[in-house]
Amino acid sequence: MTVHASRKARAVGAALLAIGTVTAALAGCSSGGSASSSASGGGGTYTFWDPYPQYTASSAWANLVASCGTKAGVTIKRTGYDTTALTTQALLAAQQGKSPDILLIDNPVVSTLAKAGALTTTAQNGLSTGSIAANILDAGVINGSTYGVPIGANTLALYYNPKILAAAHVSPSSITSWATLTAALAKVKAIGKKGITFAGINTEEGSFQFLPWFWGAGANLTNLDSPQATAALTLWTNWIKDGYAPNSVIQDTQTTAWQEFQVGNVAFAENGTWQKASAAQMGAQLIQIPGENGGVAPVPTGGEFFTIPVQRDTARYATSAKIVSCLSATSNIVTTDNTLNYIAPTQAGQQAQLAADPTLSSWIAAVHVAKARTGDNLATKYPVISQQMWTAVQKAESGAATPAAALATAQAAATAGLSS
């Protein structure tokens, strides 16, 4: 009997202890939650997150952020996160009610955060979007509401190595369509050099790099297996098959593809505005990516958006908007965009950049024909489609499937993914 009782007591004790611990754990969670609101409501200090951890507290960017805070009468606490970490960080912060006052985030993530209900619209926060080019602003527009303003835009173009083209007797101006480009690649191969590098990796970078060819054929993201899309993927696949592009493009990121170009054995590299300085150093020049049958192919926009996350204390939005307006004022944004290798999102900004550096004209032209990936009102449908697109690109590049079959599977998977 006593043994029985003591066993019972022990069981009850264990249960109580377990419940107690769980309750303590939950209490810990909830107290964390309530502490957050007071943190974001701290007087005079505004939090600011950006994806530029490379800029330290003494950098020009950090000084500009601080000075805009001073002008708005507050102190800014700036934190720089790695781009990929920032999305998760922003979601976690929103979950805990600890969102920063201002969040500078990669443009395709805006739709994800907006869908999560973590961002305010410009109608709520009072940001002005009037003079911003519509095609750059598009990444921040979801169902007619705008969720932020772009800091600037970067995009893709074709860099070329003039020495190799001269040796292969290829004139850059002759490259006006896919056929002329492929003919140039053949000539380059004939002199023992590699034709072109790009990033065909199975991540968002792969989709970003494939889009100029996809859109350049006239394909649409809502229809991944159209004949136009198949033509674009066939172009890339044949380049690899014919030895115009190294096999490593299947795995290359934009950085590793660029490193291969830098070695000096490759004639062309599809790469971004951010390689401008490095290209100038090696004497590389630039042409627009051609459309299938001539003309310039639409290119995807890259770059971040200033957003104002949802706060419990809505009175903070006005000051946040003041800070963002200061940061995106023409004189400031031109300095910032020159540092970040971005093209300004406004005409006035672009003119100021062009006056200071005439070599930017090709990039400004490229940005004019650029499209937002999440545009065409795709918003959060884009990530689902994009994932299927880069999977199809990988399958075709590696020979696991034909371009047509890979794209048909991708379209079916995207449809299934969007309907679930």
């Binding site: 202890l17 769980v22 973590a118 199975n202 096999n247 590696s398």
Partner: protein
């Protein structure tokens, strides 16, 4: 025999005397019941206090995350629910969705091939090396230490080095094959070779672990047994298969189980070398789970949790097989 019986009865008598002594001594101390109960209660409290940190630790860091992972996998958890906390109950819908997903079958097959090929090769090579080093020849210590290098290197370094060595155009492996007159192999960029390439790298990384454990297992086998077998005329091969290998069985079992769990969750090597590609040719369940939750711009946490739970179930199944086998081994 008689002596033992006598000794036993002596011990029993002494024990009874002690017990009686304690029983007799208790009343002389006065107020026996309440004090004894108090002592009992305080001892119990002390016992609870001692186990409380362990229980708290287990609940906080093991039970709760596991519960959350299961909870996540049976709900429809979107980015919106991340913030609102409102995720509708979905039952097993996420599980049936991942099972009918075209990536599931290749991921499961790749996981099986990767795990079994890795373990078989790691174990065989590790055991062979352990037997080799057991002879204790000159420089054996230094050579053995060199074999531990892969274990000491950060996985990021090992995997990056392997991916450079296996590069199609400029890798040292293809340069070597070229010198032998064999055409270049697209180790990381062809669907035929990518899984093999990651498995080779993983085997290289896993050999030291098997070597160390099997080597210490060999140390515990008495030389006398092998010597006796040798006198009875057993050759080297027979001594290994009839004596060394069976005696190593308990060590082998735990090495294989640990190797299984480690390999099942391998993520970094594959992610760095191929990112699970090209297409899904080197995608394992662990890689797929990561891709679902962090690989795209729109995280799908519920499906990722479901894939993660499938991995846990597989690991638990094999752990149960191990426990059963162990019981059977102990029973015999």
């Amino acid at each position: 025999m008689k002596a033992i019986t006598q000794e036993r009865s002596r011990i029993r008598k002494t024990a009874t005397r002690h017990r009686d002594g304690a029983a007799l001594a208790a009343p002389s101390r006065g107020a026996p019941g309440s004090r004894a109960r108090r002592t009992l209660r305080s001892t119990q409290w002390a016992a609870w206090a001692f186990i409380a940190p362990v229980v708290a630790y287990l609940v906080l860091f093991y039970a709760y995350p596991l519960y959350r992972n299961i909870d996540l996998s049976i709900r429809s958890y979107t980015v919106a629910s991340f913030i609102s906390g409102d995720a509708p109950f979905a039952g097993f819908a996420n599980y049936s969705a991942i099972i009918s997903n075209p990536t599931f079958a290749p991921a499961l097959i790749n996981t099986a091939i990767f795990v079994f090929a890795s373990i078989a090769l790691q174990f065989a090579i590790g055991l062979a090396l352990a037997v080799f080093f057991h002879r204790n020849f000159r420089l054996a210590g230094i050579l053995r230490a060199l074999f531990l290098v892969p274990w000491l290197l950060p996985l990021l370094v090992s995997a990056s080095t392997w991916s450079w060595m296996l590069n199609s155009d400029s890798g040292i492996v293809n340069a070597f094959l070229g010198a032998l007159g064999i055409g270049p192999v697209d180790w990381l960029t062809s669907p035929t070779w990518s899984l093999a390439a990651t498995t080779i790298a993983n085997v290289w990384i896993g050999i030291p672990f098997n070597l160390v454990i099997m080597y210490s297992g060999l140390q515990s086998i008495s030389g006398d047994v092998l010597e006796a077998a040798s006198i009875d005329g057993a050759g080297g091969w027979q001594r290994f298969w009839r004596i060394t290998f069976p005696l190593l069985r308990p060590v082998s079992a735990i090495t294989l189980l640990l190797g299984f769990v480690y390999t099942l969750k391998v993520f970094d090597i594959i992610w760095i070398m191929t990112r699970g590609g090209p297409a899904t040719s080197s995608t394992t369940l662990a890689i797929w789970s990561y891709q679902l939750s962090f690989g795209s711009l729109l995280p799908d946490f519920s499906s990722a949790a479901a894939v993660g739970n499938v991995l846990i179930i597989i690991a638990v199944l094999f752990a149960l097989i191990y426990i059963r086998a162990r019981h059977r081994l102990e029973g015999t």
